[in-house]
């Protein structure tokens, strides 16, 4: 889907579905081996080595990814229930798919997911880009502070999410205390996790806290990839700082930013651990994002066939959206 080329500072290159590997300078340089030498060192045994090297990986992926995927597709046409493995399995055609696509609860779930996706990406892009831009002012010690800012991103979302429930406690939680400190509201007057209107925001806050550094790091790489001479030329042409920002900085960082959004989009569409720990989908089902909904269907109601169809629909959705997005990304990149 995407890959980079060269080892220069922060370069990146996106590829369409078919990845054009031979286009990278490294590969070209590598292929320039004289033919005589190449024949001596390549030959048949190399092909054997290649397959011996790649084989185990392919085998593992076939066994643990592809075979299960095919199994899921198969199950999605049945009424199989995993808690009753001995019951006769009936093939019911597309009925599971029909049921899912016409189920209004699923659309509510999609809305919860969309709310979560939109606002997390919005805040992360806004704060992440601003931070990157500030760090790129190259003040003293910026490396140290960058490293500190990045820490939350690498931690276990389940463990961290679990701890945030403590910070969100209505009476004793630090979060409520800080809000009280600045606004004067009574710390027990609002429940971040328990109230229908605040719960969706409580997960947005934690996700933003965790993943803003991710967007920041990618934007920073984008900013650092802009050569100084472009700004110098613009300054000589008397372009104002503001104009430089919108005609140089923004367009040149955009592909990086879009890449960050792609990653965050895919990850947050799959989001499970953080939300399970924070709200568990509640109160009611206001924060029941797709993964949680799917888990309920598959592992609590044990509607395995139905859940399989659901999983396939989600996979096709992510895959489809990501492919369209990558096309758009390539267009921006080519400009």
């Amino acid at each position: 889907m995407l890959r980079s080329s060269g080892s220069g500072s922060g370069r990146l290159q996106f590829c369409q579905k078919a990845i054009t590997m031979a286009d990278t300078p490294i590969d070209n340089a590598a292929k320039a081996t004289p033919p005589g030498v190449a024949r001596k060192i390549r030959g048949l045994s190399d092909r054997a080595i290649a397959w011996i090297f790649v084989g185990p990986t392919i085998f593992l992926l076939l066994a643990i990814n592809i075979f299960p995927l095919i199994w899921t597709i198969n199950l999605s046409f049945t009424n199989f229930k995993a808690n009753r493995p001995n019951r006769d399995v009936e093939y019911i055609g597309f009925r599971n798919y029909e049921r899912i696509l016409t189920d209004s609860d699923i659309w509510l779930t999609m809305q919860a997911t969309a709310h979560f996706l939109f606002w997390t990406i919005f805040f992360q892009v806004l704060i992440g880009f601003t931070l990157a831009w500030l760090i790129n002012r190259k003040f003293k010690g910026n490396d140290l502070w960058t490293t500190i800012i990045v820490l939350p991103m690498m931690l276990s979302p389940a463990v961290v999410g679990n701890f945030w429930t403590f910070l969100y406690q209505p009476q004793i939680g630090l979060f409520n205390y800080i809000v009280t400190f600045f606004t004067g509201a009574d710390p027990s007057s609002f429940e971040m996790l328990g109230s229908v209107s605040l719960a969706p925001w409580s997960i947005v806050i934690v996700d933003t806290w965790m993943w803003t550094p991710f967007v920041m790091l990618i934007c920073l790489a984008g900013l650092r990839s802009i050569p100084d001479y472009i700004y110098e030329a613009a300054a000589i042409d008397r372009a104002s700082k503001l104009r430089q920002f919108f005609t140089i900085t923004v367009p040149m960082v955009l592909p990086f930013l879009m890449l960050a959004v792609l990653f965050r989009g895919i990850e947050n569409f799959k989001m499970f651990d953080l939300v399970v720990q924070l709200t568990g989908g509640g109160p009611g089902s206001v924060t029941e994002v797709t993964s949680i909904n799917l888990k309920r269907e598959a592992f609590e109601k044990w509607r395995t066939g139905y859940a399989s169809a659901y999983a396939i629909i989600l996979f096709v959705t992510v895959f489809g959206l990501a492919s369209i997005y990558v096309k758009a990304l390539n267009k921006v990149k080519e400009r």
């Binding site: 500072s9 590997m21 060192i41 990814n65 199950l75 003040f139 205390y177 993964s291 399989s308």
Partner: protein, 313 residues
């Protein structure tokens, strides 16, 4: 930078930018700092209002994390021999005795075994595959690489349904081997993509020189390429380890006892001994600390790792 540059920010700009960034860093660290200090509070201090920043440090959270305790009557308590160590002393003060170790140690050990096991496997398989993709012409290489990556786009729950059924049939549910294989399968995409990038950067001429000197392909691979790729392999390994370490969705669905890792266990601590937040915080601290250390060690390759090698710094 020498001389005057129009692209160099002014000192005032730097000062303002630095202040804002440091402010953000401090805010972002508050939750983490709060986790680590809560671990050293007594349960009463941890839920006091207003939240206590200054308190009398106590190891009760850590003691509670590692032990199971039971309440005994005062008379029984007095008949016991004096406490043998500080842990017993803390527990006795609460009118309880230690009856044994808690499950935390076991769960933590499971995390270590599964984390290192799957990392080792992903790195071995990933290095071999990455070398082949980097150096040989493999038919359909592009499609294969894309296929390897696309496996990462599935929601884990979707993958977990058939895995759950398959593992139940094969007897792999709740086993270390099952989890190691599963995490290896998830991590291998990251390993192959990252390592291919690192190996691509090693000039092919080195190996060719070695081959001409009479090395076989295998010798050239492990005597020339592997040492050159050591940094890349190490940082890829850390990324794989962190993923396996943090993973929750598969762990919570596919393990329940013998192979349960720490992430699904830590949140359950709160239910075991009442609202024992210091014990949760102690568990979280012990669990998160190694990742923080690794992140600091990795900072140069961080961007590359989190973007599957798409962005290199």
């Amino acid at each position: 930078m020498s001389g005057y540059s129009i692209t160099e920010p002014s000192n005032r700009q730097k000062w303002v930018a630095g202040t804002l960034v440091i402010l953000y860093a401090v805010i972002t660290m508050i939750p983490l700092a709060w986790i680590s200090i809560t671990g050293f509070k007594s349960p009463a201090d941890s839920i006091s209002y207003p939240p206590k920043v200054i308190f009398e440090p106590s190891l009760e959270g850590y003691v509670n994390l590692f032990t199971t305790r039971t309440r005994v009557s005062k008379e029984d308590l007095e008949t016991l021999p004096p406490p043998a160590n500080f842990a017993e002393e803390i527990v006795r003060e609460r009118g309880m005795v230690i009856v044994g170790p808690s499950k935390f140690g076991e769960r933590f050990l499971n995390s270590v075994i599964i984390g290192f096991g799957s990392t080792f496997l992903s790195i071995v398989l990933g290095t071999l595959a990455a070398y082949a993709f980097s150096r040989f012409r493999i038919p359909l290489a592009d499609d294969l690489l894309f296929f390897i990556l696309s496996t990462r786009m599935m929601p884990p729950i979707a993958v977990a349904i058939p895995i759950f059924l398959m593992y139940r049939k094969l007897g792999l549910s709740d086993t270390h081997l099952g989890m190691i294989l599963l995490y290896t399968a998830v991590n291998i995409s990251l390993a192959v993509w990252l390592l291919k990038g690192f190996i691509d950067e090693i000039p092919r001429e080195y190996e060719e020189a070695a081959l001409i000197d009479g090395y076989t392909r295998f010798q050239a691979f492990y005597k020339v390429v592997l040492p050159q790729a050591a940094t890349g392999i190490a940082s890829t390994a850390i990324f794989c380890l962190i993923f396996a370490w943090n993973e929750y969705a598969f762990a919570v669905l596919l393990t329940s006892g013998t192979a349960q890792t720490a992430p699904p266990f830590i949140p359950t601590i709160i239910g075991i001994g009442g609202l024992d937040w210091p014990a949760v915080a102690a568990g979280a601290t012990i669990f998160l600390l190694p990742v923080m250390v690794f992140t600091i060690l990795l900072r140069k390759h961080l961007l590359r790792g989190i973007t599957f090698g798409a962005v290199r710094k």
